[in-house]
């Protein structure tokens, strides 16, 4: 099986904001593929739909249109199908303090998934001699909490932020999943802890062959750990490619603007986009980025003769497979060879 582990095809997720209001098109046509053992970063501002996309990929949200494929098979939404899927795909949340039940010990939090899925009995049926304590210890050790027994009886409030995030990761690892979806895994952690948690994600990929989808607004994080990057804007993926391609030779003006305001990048003149991320219930015609696009405002699109297309022609969805692409009329005009 060489296909991608996780794939989204023409995914659409809409929320109804209430009577008389336009539906919010949180995910508005997304194709995305995550290969086995790959770390993919899904990058975008808040409100761009990246968290909704991640939740949909995990089956926590049901798409109105399109399919999620895991291991080549479409995701079922029956409770049995979902429960089976939960064993194989795990979520790591942004805020480890909130993600742990304050009334559960570390042991209980990590063992929770095992108990829900009766993983110990399952393993014993397969003839593997194991116990719950063994599995919890192994998961804690894998997450870098050593010695694991020392953490069994502690409560979340007795741990540091970094340790809490490791407990959350251990809880996900206990079920030996194939896919981890991490939603801003380090944004609420201190700077010096951040690197350690990212290094842990990298090590898990290398040692356990885990596939990781990281949802983040932090381009530095993507540079640290991701093989590929997908940049999301207003419900669509606007640029996708290898990390080097996207971050070192960005094609989409939005990616260029995002990159220019990262304080670490000093070579680029900062392009601070005016205004706020727009409202996903009113997606503009043509290219959805055109009202804020610095290439259109600055005349670059005019010079290339695509300004009209930017304003009126919608762009096709970027295909999940293939190399570096950007959903931008200007980028297409500049490289006529690409389809």
């Amino acid at each position: 099986m060489n296909g991608p582990l996780l794939e989204a095809r023409e995914l659409q997720v809409r929320f109804h904001a209430g009577r008389g209001k336009r539906p919010v098109r949180a995910v508005d046509g997304v194709d995305l593929a995550v290969g086995r053992g790959e770390i993919v970063a899904l990058v975008g501002e808040s409100g761009c739909g990246k968290t909704t996309l991640a939740r949909t990929l995990l089956g926590l949200e049901r798409p109105q249109d399109g399919t999620v494929l895991f291991d080549g098979a479409p995701l079922g939404y029956g409770s049995g199908d979902l429960k089976r899927y939960r064993r194989r795909a795990q979520l790591i949340l942004q805020d480890p303090t909130g993600a742990l039940n304050p009334r559960q010990t570390v042991y209980e939090s990590v063992a929770e998934g095992l108990r829900i899925h009766r993983a110990v009995a399952r393993k014993q049926r397969e003839g593997i001699e194991t116990s719950e304590v063994d599995l919890v210890s192994a998961a804690l050790a894998k997450a870098g909490l050593r010695p694991p027994e020392g953490f069994f009886m502690t409560y979340p409030h007795e741990l540091s932020g970094g340790q809490r995030q490791r407990v959350v990761i251990a809880g996900a690892l206990a079920l030996e999943p194939e896919l981890l979806v991490a939603d801003e895994p380090v944004s609420s952690l201190d700077a010096s802890i951040r690197g350690e948690i990212l290094a842990l994600l990298l090590r898990l990929r290398d040692e356990l062959g885990l596939t990781v989808l990281v949802v983040t607004h932090d381009l530095g994080l993507a540079w640290n750990i991701a093989d590929r990057i997908a940049v999301m804007y207003l419900g669509r993926i606007v640029e996708v490619g290898s990390t080097e391609q996207v971050l070192q030779a960005p094609e989409h003006p939005y990616t260029q603007a995002l990159l220019s305001v990262v304080p670490e990048v000093e070579e680029i003149e900062p392009v601070v986009l005016a205004g706020e991320p727009p409202d996903p219930s009113r997606i503009p015609d043509g290219c959805r980025f055109h009202p804020r696009c610095q290439a259109l405002a600055g005349g670059a699109a005019e010079a290339a003769g695509v300004a009209d297309r930017c304003i009126s022609d919608p762009l096709p969805v970027i295909a999940a497979h293939g190399g570096h692409r950007a959903a931008c009329w200007l980028a297409e005009a500049r490289s006529p060879s690409s389809p």
Partner: protein, 318 residues
């Protein structure tokens, strides 16, 4: 289930048990620092001991009208410390045996009310869509029905017996608890650990029993003590209105008898004041305990030590 699974389960359970014991001790230590709570607990313990030891403290034959030895409405004397009632029974004996009924009704009715209120509250806060709306409407419906008339109607339809009194009070007093628990559940539902549990594959039952319930339990406890007070008062009220169990003596039925015998006009204060004071003391003790528990369990009422993240100076601005 094989033996290999049973052994670690036991150790895991031991681990939990030890932590629970420790947290119970912490709560107890904190409770002891609330003086009013300790006073309330002291009063309650005295009444519970009196109720349990009633057969030792006062002969049950003293409750029989036919076996009454004293005169009608005798004032307190060496023989009858609190005087006698209109049938010549010792008020003290009535008071001691009445404690049994009042506490029994109060505790059992509260238990019923708490179970219904907690289940309805957690379920209506946890589920989305129509089950939640139906439960919420039901709660509101019970809440707006005038409580006392409903209780009176139910008591007269079901007949006057002790168990019916308990049922009537239990079934009519839960909506307040349900609303409180629902609000707490809604706020817990927003916390990320529930999202994590869902992502782990937890079903509704698991989410409610493992995550929501343990986090609303302190609230339930604190509320229980306040509901006990209400239940005892209600029992007194119903008995006073003549809807109590005619075969048993409770503080409420004593007050009813006293009223009926014209104890107020004849100045037989010993027949009215002691049961009244007992009701007040027991209700007060539960309220004091409830307040203390609420303060222990509800962090918003507690003044914690300052850490870097809390911003006390924000208050300076507004």
């Amino acid at each position: 289930m094989s033996a290999g699974e049973a052994v670690p389960r036991l150790t895991a359970r031991q681990v939990t048990r030890r932590r629970r014991r420790e947290s119970a001790r912490r709560t107890w230590n904190e409770f002891r620092s609330h003086r009013s709570g300790v006073v309330g607990l002291g009063i309650l313990v005295v009444f519970v001991l009196v109720a349990l030891g009633a057969p030792l403290l006062a002969d049950a034959t003293g409750l029989k009208v036919t076996a009454a030895t004293g005169g009608v409405l005798e004032a307190p004397s060496a023989e009858y410390w609190l005087g006698t009632d209109d049938n010549g029974r010792s008020v003290l004996t009535l008071l001691i045996w009445g404690a049994r009924v009042s506490l029994f009704v109060g505790l059992l009715a509260t238990a019923i009310s708490m179970v219904i209120g907690t289940l309805v509250g957690v379920a209506s806060g946890h589920f989305r869509g129509w089950p939640s709306s139906v439960l919420f409407r039901l709660t509101e419906w019970f809440l707006v029905i005038p409580f006392l008339p409903l209780a009176i109607v139910m008591a007269s339809v079901l007949g006057a017996s002790l168990i019916n009194i308990v049922l009537v009070i239990g079934v009519t007093s839960w909506p307040g608890t349900a609303l409180l628990i629902r609000a707490q559940t809604l706020s817990i539902e927003e916390r990320p650990f529930l999202e994590r549990a869902r992502a782990l594959g937890a079903g509704h039952w698991h989410q409610m029993s493992r995550h929501v319930l343990p986090n609303v339990m302190p609230m339930v406890f604190a509320n229980t003590t306040l509901t006990v007070a209400i239940a005892i008062l209600t029992e007194t009220t119903l008995s006073f209105l003549g809807l109590g169990d005619p075969l048993r003596v409770s503080w409420g039925s004593m007050l009813d008898d006293a009223f009926g015998a014209g104890a107020i006009t004849t100045g037989a204060w010993w027949f009215i004041i002691p049961p009244g004071i007992c009701v007040i003391l027991v209700v007060l003790s539960f309220t004091l305990i409830g307040r203390a528990l609420e303060e222990i369990f509800n962090p918003r009422l507690r003044r914690g030590i300052l850490d870097e993240t809390s911003k006390p100076r924000r208050r300076e601005r507004s």
